[in-house]
Symmetry: C2
Subunit: 201 residues, 2 copies
Amino acid sequence: MGRPSDAKEKLLQVAFDLIWNQSYGAVSVDQICEQARVNKGSFYHFFPSKSDLAIEAYEEHWREKQPELDRIFSPQIPPLEQLERWCRHVCDRQRQKAKKYGHVCGCPYASLGTELATQDERIRLKSQELVDRNIRYIESALLEAKRQGLIAIADPQAGARRVYSTVLGMLLQAKIRNDLGVLDELEPTVMGMIGARELVA
Amino acid sequence: MGRPSDAKEKLLQVAFDLIWNQSYGAVSVDQICEQARVNKGSFYHFFPSKSDLAIEAYEEHWREKQPELDRIFSPQIPPLEQLERWCRHVCDRQRQKAKKYGHVCGCPYASLGTELATQDERIRLKSQELVDRNIRYIESALLEAKRQGLIAIADPQAGARRVYSTVLGMLLQAKIRNDLGVLDELEPTVMGMIGARELVA
DNA sequence: ATTTTATTTGACTATCCAGTCAATTACTTT
DNA sequence: AAAGTAATTGACTGGATAGTCAAATAAAAT
């Protein structure tokens, strides 16, 4: 089994953090290695390239965060409450990162995705995959809410995509404005969109 | 007046196109110069830095596109029709660019903004400014629609921001999926959000 | 204890990058 | 025609970049 090491884990975590906080292009392999306290040779022992690292880092991050989403969207919880809790979760996470880094960071999947969608097909696909996994949670909540007669929605799948688009757009605006206040509108907008609360009033 | 030249214009246009199509980080000054058929020395005769060029390029692009928006949101046109036409305009533009470049490019302001919001404050501000200018058109349409009693909306300004978030999110998803089909939902979603059309049905 | 396997080390390469500069050119103004 | 002004040229710098490699090392398996 050779020599045990946590260098790979370190690199994955540091890479995710740095890329989310800055951008893929702005973060160098040297910088990642330095912050992870790993030599460059080790980096290329674990990863064939910078983009491979990015893909693995994002997948790993998902793996770590998935239990939290499973908890939020637990079938034990009423579907509309699931959505409310998710909105709050998204906001909390942004607040937390903003506090840590001094500015609003937005959605990590969307950031990597927009930056590289037109340049690196593998990263585009990974980014799409991660977005899709998020949408599936929303879809399941909408389906259950419909089944229980809590909301009237024709196409929960399309609805989930719409909702997620809006959330992505708000995160994007929060980042561009560097203003967490934008996210105060998140929950009411989401609940309004699915007809669970009055948008107009 | 010295020696007349269209090099500056060329650089601005080429830079906007390349950055939109790829990303700020992926496009080099050399590449911009080459495609604009301008020497590097000339580049730095006109622009103090790459980021200054980007800011000017985006401002210039807005200047060129503004008349089109003024036409779409002309007070001569009923407000809800303004919004429909705007949605169609956004889709058309994406189709056009996708055809030209072979992939969906998304919103240029959002792309530059997300990539650099956390790194270059001046670019973040410019990006925010451009987004705000767009939102103002939507807001004016919503205000007029409300005044005419066409829709019931409490806060047209907040509504405009919500609508724009959704559009940004959809453009982002279209880019990440490299799929123009995502935008088929754009107009119905926007009209549904403002209560001008049934979302549920 | 020895072999095997996996990780570590850090110097190295070749390329690319943003930005500089001094000399030259071409146009406008007087 | 001369002077003034602005654009052009392209070679140059210094530093950063992704990625390489062969030798050293440490743990696990035998």
